[in-house]
Symmetry: C2
Subunit: 556 residues, 2 copies
């Protein structure tokens, strides 16, 4: 009988975070404890080390996720532990989990098996409160905006043209489209509104892209909230609350330190989803790792079409980061699913389907190559993988000249990724020609076309009438010289969740474009992707419990 | 030039919370640090001391609040510091501030002047995250409920008869009355809903009244959320998520320790408003103080008609607490306002108006006497008070046989309340005949009538048609044998905010009655009181700021 991730995590005897921090030279002066095993890290640490050379930066990405599971976080943690086992001073930078999926589909998210980050219960629940602070800041904007309208609307805000939405860190489909301010006049001015999930909020993006507290305040002030009746933009700074918002986020802006099961230091900070947001942990956390450690292993959400593309086109561009190597994670099970094997049949050997599914892996490898980066395929082994399947996959990689490594991080932790770690260290010594895929000076249409054709393999892009009108407006406003943050289903390279493998002959439909002027990008909503998920028929919450001694059950 | 509360608080050199805890014999084993100056206190501390005799319990209450200010929290903190100066081992138990008023009217709330609780910035912002955890639990119920309806509604929930509302810790009037689930079918089932402020959520009441983690879980499961189409009640436990909710609240249930400016230990835990909820900090925090200290000073919100009545009729009844003395706080300024002096004219001497305003103070004294408790009037001195006014007030107290003390806690901290502290110690030695005002076995109408006539001085109670129907239903359901939690304006003894002093010849109108079956009381909404406040024309948020070094401005 296998132990659950939660059981393995609960068996771990954690080291005091003070001792974990000491391993990379961080003293108590730079830590604010949240209990014994979590700490906020001072931003001053980054300032004091600003002249120090950065360590190596390794990005872990994956094929398109399937129900079968890939193990990207697990590989990230296992690789970090393996590098530390090799004597390389290594840190890991991850995103904070959202409570939406925790209560919804999948329970916790902090790696798996013997490659986890702990204390996993806290990380998956309120952690150090960053997510709640972001929710508060987001909704303070809405409350002040609607209060402004109610109190006489001196800014002449067009109530049919409010772009700012409320948010909650919750999967709650009924809040997508709501009508507020109903009933008596004392209840404010009635208008249409909606909630996003917090991880899709621009406040989250701004927190992840800010480089200091004052930069954060400036970005918050620049966020677009509405247009007035003359169609002129209204910003947060027009409401005069960017100081209050920065104050609300004064602790949230500091990265959080925790440890792996092998007691290596991890920064977990910021958690935008990669399908509906930019999908990377904060620039401040990554930069802090790069200054403190010789190797930093980080991940970007979902497949390379989403997280990695945005990591390389947005985060690295804004943060002036130079990645050294990319790890592309796949499992034999997931490749079979991309080869159109039904979920129920994944246990059965099927070399042919697996090789067919490799088309998906091949496309993501191609994407990483286009960014000019060295890469390695990491196959996350499952007990159900057969020797014939493993051999066929090894041969496929060999034939196509793809470096690869088999890893057993789930079962063995860092020990299961020593081969991968050695190969990654070698890759980091290679010169690379990393560059973003497009120039921000390109037109909005060209930038989206570049991503759709080069990364997704689409034939082209169709823009809805609404999107066309928005592009015209944004061109006029001078908001066209920013990177694009694509919002697309994670399940497929296309914008249709049902298309597995590497689909061909399809168009990407851009439904809507939203300017995130504080974050500094345009969000392009494709297909049917929604910024507020729903709960499944039986939410994960139904299986969760806690006893009188505080022991938790059902959190994966 | 007077310093602001924030400036005084920022000048304080705090002691590590470890050292503060040590003063009352609490060691590191029972603390979970949140930074250096805040800690969660283990519930095990209470269990281990359960056979120890309780210390003395002192309640601080006040006249009806006015714009002029009374200083109830300030007096509570100053009295606690004074008792410690006298060598009495004393703790203070307070409520956690809500972000609604922080961003709205008044900025922070943790005492004032030299009688404050610190770190006030943290206490007034996210503190240790309890408020956010409550918001999350509340909204997880809503999300699961609406998801249940969307996924086929096996419980046959009547969507016109959902009693559970969403909540946010924010003043946001436009969320009072909303329509959710609009648009496409994928957005869930459309229905009417609304948000309360988090401090009015039943989850907050349950957290404050729970006596253990398992009691918390049971109470959460018993909360009413809706009726089915046969008019039968649907509870949280029918949704099967009480375990998940208790897990969400696993840290929030632990009291938070901070310190006064004089480095004495304070527990701040739970924060229901006293106008729209029961207005007292948690039973767990108060009980912990009673076991650790010889004297516990606590406060209940707003005037004695609201907080004290609910403290004595609900909290003490449920928690089996025996109060020893009551301090009734008033200011000469506020008494003048109760004597119908305009706010602008309060600086001018007006003995006559002050004596007229004493009618309000007299009514609250009368209430405390009816509960069978010894009391003292604490006059919180202001620089604008004239010798004639002070003398007249002293004479008024003498004539009517009311013990009193002049205190200068704002300017002098504990030193300013030494006389008050000595008198309070003496009161605590008196035998008292404390008993709640009504029997829970009385009818709903009789219990409300008792409170309205004996505490508010009303002639009687009028019930709306809706309230009458609700009473009939609750009688049938067997929900009538619970205490009543009155929701009423804090500004007046009546349910009309504009009636100062001690109004006569008025009726109390009960508009609506809501069963809080997890908390164990019925909420009676009177007059126009609302469970979601709005922001003023210029919110306090507009004056708040933070600089690059993290220094805060404008938080009072």
């Amino acid at each position: 009988m296998f132990k659950t991730d939660l059981e393995i995590a609960q068996e771990c005897v954690l080291e005091p975070i003070r001792d974990v921090a000491a391993k990379i030279g961080v003293t108590e002066d730079d830590l604010e404890y949240y209990g014994k095993y979590k700490a906020k890290v001072s931003l001053d640490l980054l300032n004091r080390n600003k002249d120090k050379e950065d360590g190596k930066l390794i990005l872990v990405t994956a094929i398109n996720p399937t129900k079968a599971g890939e193990g990207k976080s697990t590989t990230t943690v296992g690789l970090g532990d393996a590098l530390n086992r090799m004597g390389k001073k290594t840190m890991i930078a991850l995103r904070e989990p959202s409570l939406g999926p925790v209560f919804g589909l999948k329970g916790g998210a902090a790696g798996g098996g013997y490659a986890q980050v702990v204390p996993m219960e806290d990380i998956n629940l309120h952690f150090t409160g960053d997510m709640h602070a972001i929710t508060t800041a987001n909704n303070l904007i809405s409350a002040c905006l609607d209060n402004h309208i109610h109190q006489g609307n001196a800014l002449d805000i067009d109530i049919e043209h409010v772009t700012w939405k409320r948010c909650l860190d919750m999967n709650d489909r009924t809040l997508r489209n709501i009508r507020i301010g109903m009933g008596a006049k004392a209840n404010g001015v009635e208008r249409q509104d909606g909630f996003n999930i917090t991880v899709a909020s621009e406040v989250m993006a701004v927190l992840c892209l800010a480089t200091s507290l004052s930069d954060l305040k400036t970005r918050l002030g620049n966020m677009l909230v509405a247009y007035n009746t003359k169609n002129e933009p209204i910003y947060v700074k027009d409401l005069g609350i960017e100081g209050a918002l920065a104050m609300v986020l004064k602790d949230a802006i500091k990265p959080n330190m925790v440890q792996t099961l092998e007691h290596n230091p991890v920064l977990i900070h910021g958690g935008p989803f990669a399908n509906i947001a930019h999908g990377c942990n904060s620039i401040l956390a990554t930069k802090t790792c790069l200054k403190l450690a010789d190797y930093t292993v980080t991940e970007a959400g979902f497949g390379a079409d989403l997280g990695a593309e945005k990591f390389l086109d947005i985060k690295c561009r804004f943060g002036n980061l130079k990645p050294n190597a990319v790890v592309i994670v796949a499992t034999i099970r997931a490749l079979k699913q991309h080869g159109n094997v039904a979920y129920e049949d994944l246990k059965e050997e099927n070399v042919e389907a697996m090789l067919e599914g490799c088309a998906n892996l091949a496309k993501h490898i191609d994407t990483v190559k286009q960014f000019g980066l060295p890469y390695i395929v990491a196959i996350n082994e499952f007990a159900s993988d057969t020797p014939k399947e493993v051999e066929a996959l090894e041969n496929w990689c060999k034939e196509h000249g793809h470096p690869m490594s088999l890893s057993q991080v789930w079962a063995k932790g860092g020990e299961g990724a020593l081969d991968l770690a050695e190969k990654v260290v070698a890759l980091c010594e290679e010169e690379n020609s990393y560059a973003p895929l497009y120039d921000v000076e390109d037109s909005i249409e060209d930038k989206i076309h570049t991503i759709a054709t080069k990364v997704y393999g689409a034939d082209g892009v169709e823009f809805s009438e609404e999107a066309k009108q928005q592009i015209a407006l944004y061109n006029k406003m001078g908001w066209d010289k920013m990177p694009i943050c694509m919002a697309k289903t994670q399940m497929s390279l296309s914008d249709d969740a049902k298309k597995y493998g590497a689909p061909k002959g399809f168009m990407i439909t851009v439904r809507e474009l939203n300017p995130s002027l504080g974050a500094g990008f345009l969000v392009a909503l494709t297909g049917k992707v929604l910024t507020m998920p729903g709960l499944p028929a039986v939410p994960a919450a139904n299986n969760m419990d806690i006893d009188e001694e505080g022991h938790i059950k059902g959190l994966f």
